[in-house]
Symmetry: none
Subunit: 223 residues, 2 copies
Amino acid sequence: MKLLIIEDEPGLRETIEKYFTEEGSICEACDDLKSALDKIALYEYDCILLDIGLPDGEGFSVLDYLKRHNKNECVLIISARNSLDDKIKGLNIGADDYITKPFHLAELKARVLAIFRRKTFGSTNILTYKEINIDLLGRNVTVNDEVMILTKKEYDMLLYFIANKGKVVSKNAIAEHLWGDETDLLDSFDFLYTHIKNLRKKLTELAGRDFFSSIYGVGYKFI
Amino acid sequence: MKLLIIEDEPGLRETIEKYFTEEGSICEACDDLKSALDKIALYEYDCILLDIGLPDGEGFSVLDYLKRHNKNECVLIISARNSLDDKIKGLNIGADDYITKPFHLAELKARVLAIFRRKTFGSTNILTYKEINIDLLGRNVTVNDEVMILTKKEYDMLLYFIANKGKVVSKNAIAEHLWGDETDLLDSFDFLYTHIKNLRKKLTELAGRDFFSSIYGVGYKFI
DNA sequence: CGAAATCTGAAGCAATACTGAAGATCGAGG
DNA sequence: CCTCGATCTTCAGTATTGCTTCAGATTTCG
């Protein structure tokens, strides 16, 4: 899961970042509106954690921007204000959920997972694709009812492929989703090849068929 | 077990808190409605002990809040009034049990345990999982009919794992459940490793197999 | 056929998990 | 109030696992 944290208070920002990184997500963070909009224009995120009160403007403009550009990223608003107005405004403009400071990290995580799930896979916690079954809450994956043990990268990769099933996904898109924005200057996809190979092997062993079709010069299609 | 005690009478509040803390539970307490609602919004509890008569409002609003937010925490109402009306109202709104002042701490404990059990494991006092047998009232644990002596932390941990059997639970989730809310900024899971190790060893010695499967980078699964 | 892209297995390195023992803390009993 | 034992936590050393890199094999496409 790839997150963007927009929060100007350094302590809170780092706490959130550290927590989600430990939980296995890719985090990027920024502390003002301008750099937030820059990032959103360039990259895709699974969920954006948005503080409303920012030094250079109202966080609502992020929602505006997403709407105008037809991006449908999940947005969770973080706000110090407990005002009903802000809440209604945020949800009307397109935020998916709302949490008020101070909050508990576990609750934040639960909310992020919930809205991401809702937007990506529908309202269920059980995700099924052909012979693959994923319990998103329990993080359990079975193929033909046999348990498949996956590493963090493999699990994230599988979710990404299932979310984009049938579509051709470029290697750049995969790399950016799984490793964040430090992959810009990359000159080799060796690490990606290795992870694909490992996931492919585990899936093939249990399903008896290859879920991946490689598109030469572009990327992969999950079928 | 993690409890929230909402009681404005300081003497009673501290007595209850002290008693349950000594019994090995994690307790948090507050003395008015406002701070109670704050806490409930932020944290998760196994059981909430709720006094109805509070300085800044009726305790029933706590039940309302839980209902509106789809939280299914156990609630035990403590009340000085012996009125049937209050009792009916409380249970209708979603409380799990009711106790009238004055009461014996042992009875309070029994009721708390009972409703927690009912909600978590069903109606029985004997909890069985594979070769493990737990008498929740007597706090006795046997494995293959042999008694297993556990410390408080180990016992709580075992219950938590059995409540989440088969699911992957993250280290953060375990830490939060067993140590409360000061674990956010934690930079090491050493203490968790140690407790897992000890519980694992005791279980393995009696059962002859390992109940824990470690998920590298994530947490554990109890099987 | 040849060049570029992809795949594969093995190796080094970094991160994470496990272990035993020592130090700190807590609670029961004198 | 003090002592002692049990429990909890910390720590340092070791083991394990996963991530990345790399070199060579294989495939694809012009």
